[in-house]
Structures are given as C-alpha cells and as structure tokens.
C-alpha cells in the first residue's frame, strides 16, 4: 500500500552512481519485494536495487527482456507511469517506469534506467522504448523526450509533444533555466520578507518571457512547430486501415456501383485540422484527421496548447505552494487533484490525519466526482448533437455542488482545500445541512431524471452503441484508466486496487460494463454517480457519530514542510481515471521532482485506435466519451 521506502536516518550502500561523479549523498536502497527478487534472481547481473525504490536496470540491452518478463510472467500488464528525473549531481538522467497489475492492483513495480547526462542541449544516448510491449508508453515517452531529451529507440513517433519542434532546450533538466528565472527554490529572497519585488519584466534582459540562443536570426529561421506531423499522414493509402482495432474496415460503398467499379473509383483523401480552436475538442486540443470521404483513416493529436509548465513551476515551489496549483490541473475536479498530491506528501512525511479529515476528504472529493460526471455527460450529449439542452440542466446541478464547495472552501473551482495532514476548514452546521440536502434529496432525484431522459434515448443509443469500441486487452495495453477502462469489462479502480482514505469503511460497488463503447462509458458514469452518492451518504452519517467537529488537522500546522529524502508514487481515482503523483524529495523544502501522471493525457493515447475506421463525426463523440480536461492533458 504505502510506496514510501526511504527513511531519512538509514544511509545504505549507494547504488549505481557512476564513479566519476560521486557527489550524491548516500541514500537508502530500495526494499526488495518478492517480485523484485524474482527479477533479480532471473537477471542477476543486469539489475540492482535502485535508490529509494524499485530496480535499476544496469544492462540496457536486457531491458526489453526484463520488461517482457514483467509483463508476461509477473503479470504487470499495464505501464502506469513513465517519466525521468535529472540527478544533476550524479551526472545521470534516470528514466522511471512503473507497472501495475490490472485489475488486481497493489503497489506498482518500478524499473529504472540511467543514462549519462549529456552536456548543453544535446540529446541523451538512446534507451529502449517500451512501445512494442506497452503501446500506452507512446505519449509518455514522447513527453519524457520533450522535457528531458531522453531518446527512446523504438518509439514510433518520437517528436516533441507539449512544446514545439525547434524549441531551444529540454525544459525540465535541472540546468535549463526559464526566462524569468529568479532562483532554484521559492520563496525567492527578493520577495521575502520585505516584499519589495520588481516585476519580472523589469528584471530580465528581454523584458519579456523569452530567451533566444546567440546568433539567432529571426528572419532566417524556418519554423516547423509540428515537425513531420503531416509527412507520415500524407503517404498515399488505399483507404484501408492497418490497425486492427476490432472495427474491421468497411469498404466505401457508392450506390449503383458494383465491387469492381468501386475498386476503380479513386477517392481523394484529405487531411483536416480540428482545433485548437474548435467547439467540440473540449478546449485547445488539436486533432489532425485524415479522411476518406467521411471515414477516418488516420488521426494524430497535437497537444501542448495549454502546457503551462506545472512541473517546472512545481519544482521551484515549496511543498505547500503546490496545492493550489494542483487545482488547476483538472479544473472540474480540483479537490480530487489536491488529494492525490497531499496523499503522496503525507506518505513521505509519515503524517497522520484525523477521522474528521478523512470523512471531509471523501465527502468533498466525491462531490467533485459528481460535478465532473455531470459535466462529462452534459458535454458528451453536446457532442452527440443535443446542443446544450442536457448540459444546461447538468450545469445547474453542478452549480449547486459548487455552491456548497464555495461556502466551505471559499472558491468555486480552485478550492485549495487540502493541507498536509488536514483540510483547511470544517463544514458549518448550515453547510452540513446543505450537503445532506444535496446527497439525500436533490441529487438522487436529478440522477434518476438524467437516467430517465437519456439512457433509453433512441438517438443517444444509435449514435453511441458500438462507437469507439476498444477491447479490454487493448485498453490495458494502452494504459487506459477510469470509466473508459471499466466500460470495457475491467473492474480496476484505485479506490479498491490501491486503497487510500477511508474508502474501506463504505459499502459501494465499482460499476463494470462489458461492451467497451461510448454508450457503456456513459452508463458507467451514470452508475458511478449513484455509487458516489452512496459513499457521500454513508460518509455524512458516519462522520456525525465517528468524528469530532473541528478536528481538521492531524499533526502540527506548518507553513514550511521539510519532506524526508525519498520518493513516492501516490495515486488516486479521479473521475477521469488514475491520477498519480511521482514525487522525489532530497530533504529540502521543495520537491526535487514533481511529476503528474495525468489520466486525461494518457487516455488520449488510445484515441487513434478508437477513432480510426469510424466516421469523422464519431471521432468527436469518442473524444467526448474519454472525458478529457485540457488543463490536465497539457499541464
């Protein structure tokens, strides 16, 4: 359950730091789990215990073999998280892969790789890509490449994903400094304690948030921000689709022509850009779609239009600073994002919470799940053509939930509610009554109404049944999580698979459906709303008898937390899927590494396979059924 493996007081043998650089402090080596021992026994010379957590693969040529063993023998069938950490003192960049068993769950298995840090803006030596084994690695590896310049050999489309091609440098490397750089860690001395601080524009040479390399000529530069996004798509094809995604490929039929005449009929394929400004891409997502008539024959996503550098800013912030930033990830579900983050930090610090805190977290968290599902269903219906009528009803309900959260936390969306070991405020008795009214009276009725009007709706069914199908195996391989995975017959929910909070005290089900299409994703969400209500109702009842009002802080309150050196991967089940925080601390008041395993982002990985072979109008519906929030996709 707890993945914290480091205790600050126990220096152990220092593993794997190259001799030439040995500047790092000795840190605890990972505890060996049975699975790790099995790998170590089989691949003796190629692995060793990594620092803090997991196994370090020292022989890169064995990595694919080890990963195959992990997948096929140890049954860790999903790649949960892929990222990197820049250990600048050791002179290495460490690539971290975390694997989960789906649907069994349990603690993830960590495999690490180390590559020497190249100088300047060079890329690293290539490391083997996991894409052939885990297709879900594609976007994550591209992000790691984009942020650290780690080259993954075997990734089918290794281009920058959040930034643009041609951007100068690898932003998350520790020696790369942004234009407004002021110091490695906050609080910056210039702003504290005197508070006299200049505008960033007055401090920097360009008087703006830009930096150009020496010798740059703005007129001679040839911009190519998308790289070769079109080149691979422009290759002529015969309208058939090479991906086997279960749709089969329906031949284009023109009435009045027989098969041989059809074969002679050449149709042109066109490439259409949808977005980044498009009403049905749920924000600033851009889909590049190749069409044969109305059929999607290829699809690529261009992301990063809302990339606002959470991770770089997060490494500068103190631990406490980051809580309000997490609100702005998936801004429909602010409180749940905070929960994942404070959970990680609490595990690293060994903080205990109180009963009241846990109940309040469950109540507010599940309320945001309801709000998010209302929003998701409303906008899915929007995409299906019921333009804004259902959404208006659900926004009204969401507003009621938001009212309660605003009364409690002070903000409608950016609640900033969680603290390490606690929450910021308790409910007043009036707010408690409001919550009871919502949970017992208003929302059950609304969900019944939603169900009554939509579930059997003929148009909804006609458009969504069979649309965007993806089989359970492919869903797991694509690292899909959340309602979309559960609609494909896999009962994987982090609340059960890797429990946190007080969820073990409530009686609730994890809804699972088996068709893996848009309609089932919709149904799973409706059922999950009912389960959420059950949880909230039980939590409200239990909290009244089993917790003390006002007891909202476990441990001491503090502004400045020092988190013991170590690392942690904490995950929670947000309405969109598994949201994970990979945190590394070096004992300072700032995170050394702050990575968000964003479920919206990783769920998009499977978009292409779901949409290819379908009509272009359905690709919009499929996107709606994935329920992405761009704040979390691009971070």
């Amino acid at each position: 359950m707890s993945e914290v493996t480091a205790t600050p007081a126990k220096p152990a043998a220092k593993p794997a730091a190259p001799a030439a650089h040995g500047a790092a402090k000795p840190v605890a080596a990972a505890k060996m789990t049975p699975e790790m021992s099995a790998i170590a026994a089989k691949f003796g010379g190629a692995v060793e215990a990594a620092q803090y957590e997991g196994l370090l693969v020292t022989d890169h040529s064995k990595f694919i073999e080890i990963a195959t063993y992990v997948r096929d023998v140890l049954k860790y069938n999903q790649l949960t998280n892929n990222t990197a950490t820049d250990y600048i003192k050791d002179g290495v960049i460490e690539v971290v892969n975390q694997f989960t068993r789906v649907p069994q769950g349990g603690a993830p298995l960590t495999l690490k790789l180390r590559v020497p840090r190249p100088s300047g803006h060079d890329k690293t030596q290539p490391v083997p890509s996991l894409c052939p084994l885990y297709p879900g690695a594609e976007f994550q590896e591209r992000e790691t490449y984009d942020m650290y310049g780690v080259v993954f050999e075997g990734n089918p489309d290794l281009r920058r994903i959040l930034m643009w091609e041609g951007f100068n440098g690898w932003p998350l490397r520790k020696d790369w400094k942004e234009a407004y750089y002021e110091g490695d860690t906050k609080p910056f001395e210039s702003r504290w304690p005197g508070g006299d601080h200049k505008l960033a524009e007055e401090r920097v040479p360009w008087e703006d948030n830009v930096n150009y390399p020496p010798g740059f000529d703005p007129f001679a530069f040839k911009p190519h921000p998308d790289g070769d996004i079109y080149d691979s798509m422009l290759a002529p094809s015969d309208g058939t689709v090479s991906i086997d995604n279960g749709h089969g490929v329906a031949p284009t039929i023109v009435e009045g022509l027989n098969a041989s005449e059809m074969a002679e009929l050449k149709t042109d394929e066109i490439i259409v850009n949808m977005g980044p400004q498009h009403p049905s891409t749920h924000g600033v997502l851009r889909m590049v779609v190749k069409l044969d008539g109305e059929k999607v024959t290829d699809l690529k996503l261009a992301l990063g239009y809302l990339h606002r550098n959470h991770e770089k800013i997060g490494e500068r912030n103190t631990w406490l600073h980051n809580i309000p930033y997490t609100d702005r990830l998936d801004y429909i579900t602010g409180i749940y994002n905070e929960w994942g983050y404070v959970l990680g930090v609490e595990r690293m610090m060994g903080l205990k919470t109180t009963d009241r805190v846990e109940y309040l977290r469950v109540i507010t968290g599940e309320l945001t799940r309801l709000a998010s599902h209302f929003w998701a269903i409303g906008f899915l219906l929007n995409d299906l053509g019921a333009f804004f009528t259902p959404a208006l009803y659900f926004i009204t309900e969401r507003d009621l939930i938001i009212d309660l959260l605003e009364a409690v936390t002070g903000s409608r969306m950016m609640c900033n509610y969680m603290r390490f070991g606690g929450v910021s405020r308790d409910f007043t008795s009036a707010q408690w009554a409001m919550a009871r009214e919502l949970a017992f009276e208003r929302l059950p009725r609304t969900i019944d109404e939603l169900d009554h009007f939509l579930t059997e709706n003929e148009i909804l069914k006609a458009r969504s049944i069979g649309t965007g199908y993806m089989s359970a195996d492919r869903c797991i391989a694509h690292s899909l999580t959340g309602p979309c995975l559960r609609a494909a017959g896999i009962g994987y929910d982090v609340r059960r698979a890797d429990p946190y909070g007080y969820y073990d005290r409530f009686d609730f089900d994890i809804p699972v459906l088996y068709n893996g299409d848009v309609y089932d994703r919709y149904l799973v969400r409706v059922q999950e709303m009912r389960e959420s209500l059950k949880i909230i109702q039980q939590a409200l009842n239990q909290a009244e008898t089993q917790s003390k009002v006002g007891d909202i802080q476990g441990g001491k309150k503090a502004y400045n937390h020092r988190v013991p050196a170590g690392q942690c991967y904490a995950r929670v089940e947000t309405p969109k899927g598994e949201l994970g925080y990979y945190l590394v601390s070096d004992g300072n008041q700032n995170p050394y590494k702050y990575h968000i395993r964003s479920c919206s982002y990783i769920n998009l990985n499977s978009m292409k396979e779901m949409a290819v072979g379908q009509k272009v109008a359905d690709s919009v519906v499929i996107l709606g059924s994935l329920d992405i929030v761009l704040g979390e996709v691009d971070r």
């Binding site: 041609g166 942004e178 703005p218 911009p223 980044p276 990339h307 702005r328 009204t396």
Partner: protein, 210 residues
C-alpha cells in the same frame, strides 16, 4: 430605451408633416446613440475557451447567470461572425499564433476581454517557460477582469463595462468607419527557438549577434 426621449419639439408641434396621432411617439436622438444602443446589446462572442476560465464562461452562459439578458448569448464558433473575443485562460506561446490569427479574422469593430489573471498578466503561471505574460502583449484589450478564475458575476461586470465603452464611441471618430485607415490586424508571432515577435526582430538580431 436608452436614447434621450423628449416631448415633441415646439417647432414640430404644428408641422403638417407630422400626423396628429404620432404626436406623442416621436423620439429625438443622435445617430451615435441609437447605433451604439443597438450594437452594445448584440455582441456575438467567439465560442472559444482556453483553460479554467472557460468553465466559468460556460457557467455564465448557462441558466443561472444567463448571459442572454445582455443579448450576448449567441456564441459563434467562427471568428468571421464574432464581435468579441473572451480570452478565457492561460495564453501559451504555442497557442498565441492561433489567437492572434483568430483576432485578425474577426471583422471590425471587434473587442477583447482578458478574462482572469492568466490572460491579463500570466497569473500564477507567469514564470512558466511556455506562458505569455498577458494577451495584451499581442492584441489590444478592452476590459481586464481579475480573478483566478473570475466568478461569472465578474464576467458579467466586464460586459457592463464594455457596454459603457461602446456607448462612448462615435461613428465619426472610430477608425473602422474612417476611409483610408484600414486595419491590417496584428502581426502573428511564430515559434522559433522561443516565441518570436517580429515587431522586435531588429532588437532580437542586435542582441543575439555573435
């Protein structure tokens, strides 16, 4: 009606051109007033959301806050049909070329509301390497709203402020009705090693010279 209504002026009272039954139904106003009165009550915002603020913008348009009370509810997805751009969220360097292009595609008169701290100045993400420090570095802004995100009421307030601004404009002086003064739009920046604003090209060349 917001225009000035008066009783029928004396010189028209006995004018045979005015039928008797219209005597109490004649309004005197200026062209500016009647024109702006119509214009300010029928803004068509661009259906365009960037980030968190877009959620509050949608809430503003929804039933509780009811944007259509102002006559502004017709959100158009095409910039060619829009009068008002609500920049609702963090403006990133990757997105700014598209935003400037959208702005240029809007017909005049066009207005811009910078919604929230990010669109105003970069907000909490200002120090980020992919964040533009405020949309006003690239396109002119009419109304700024603080907040992260601003409440729907704040967005409504910005509309009231914009209406006040429109009321003060005169057909005689606004540029878009003046012959010979066409607006070519704003220069679209491009994505080089960093965001390149070509208005500063000479300065960039000078400072980066080896």
């Amino acid at each position: 009606m917001a225009t000035q209504t008066t009783n029928i002026p004396d010189e028209l009272k006995n004018d045979p051109r005015v039928p008797e039954d219209l005597n109490n139904n004649i309004f005197i106003t200026t062209l500016d007033k009647i024109y702006n009165w119509g214009r300010k009550r029928s803004m068509w915002p661009l259906l365009f959301g960037l980030a968190c603020c877009a959620i509050e913008m949608i809430c503003t348009a929804a039933s509780r806050h009811d944007l259509s009370r102002f006559g502004w509810e017709l959100m158009r997805a095409s910039p060619r049909q829009a009068d008002l751009m609500i920049v609702s969220g963090t403006v990133t360097k990757k997105m700014i070329p598209q935003i400037v292009r959208l702005y240029n595609q809007m017909p005049e008169p066009r207005y811009v509301v910078a919604m929230g701290s990010c669109a105003t100045s970069g907000g909490p993400f200002k120090e980020g390497y992919n964040v533009v420090s405020g949309i006003d570095k690239f396109i002119p802004v009419d109304v700024y709203i603080p907040g992260c995100p601003p409440r729907p009421e704040a967005l409504l307030h910005s509309f009231v402020k914009l209406q006040e601004k429109i009321e003060k404009q005169s057909i005689r002086t606004v540029r878009w009705y003046t012959t010979g003064k066409t607006d070519n739009g704003m220069l679209v920046p491009y994505l080089g090693p960093d965001l390149v604003d070509l208005r500063r090209a000479d300065e960039i060349k000078q400072k980066t010279a080896l």
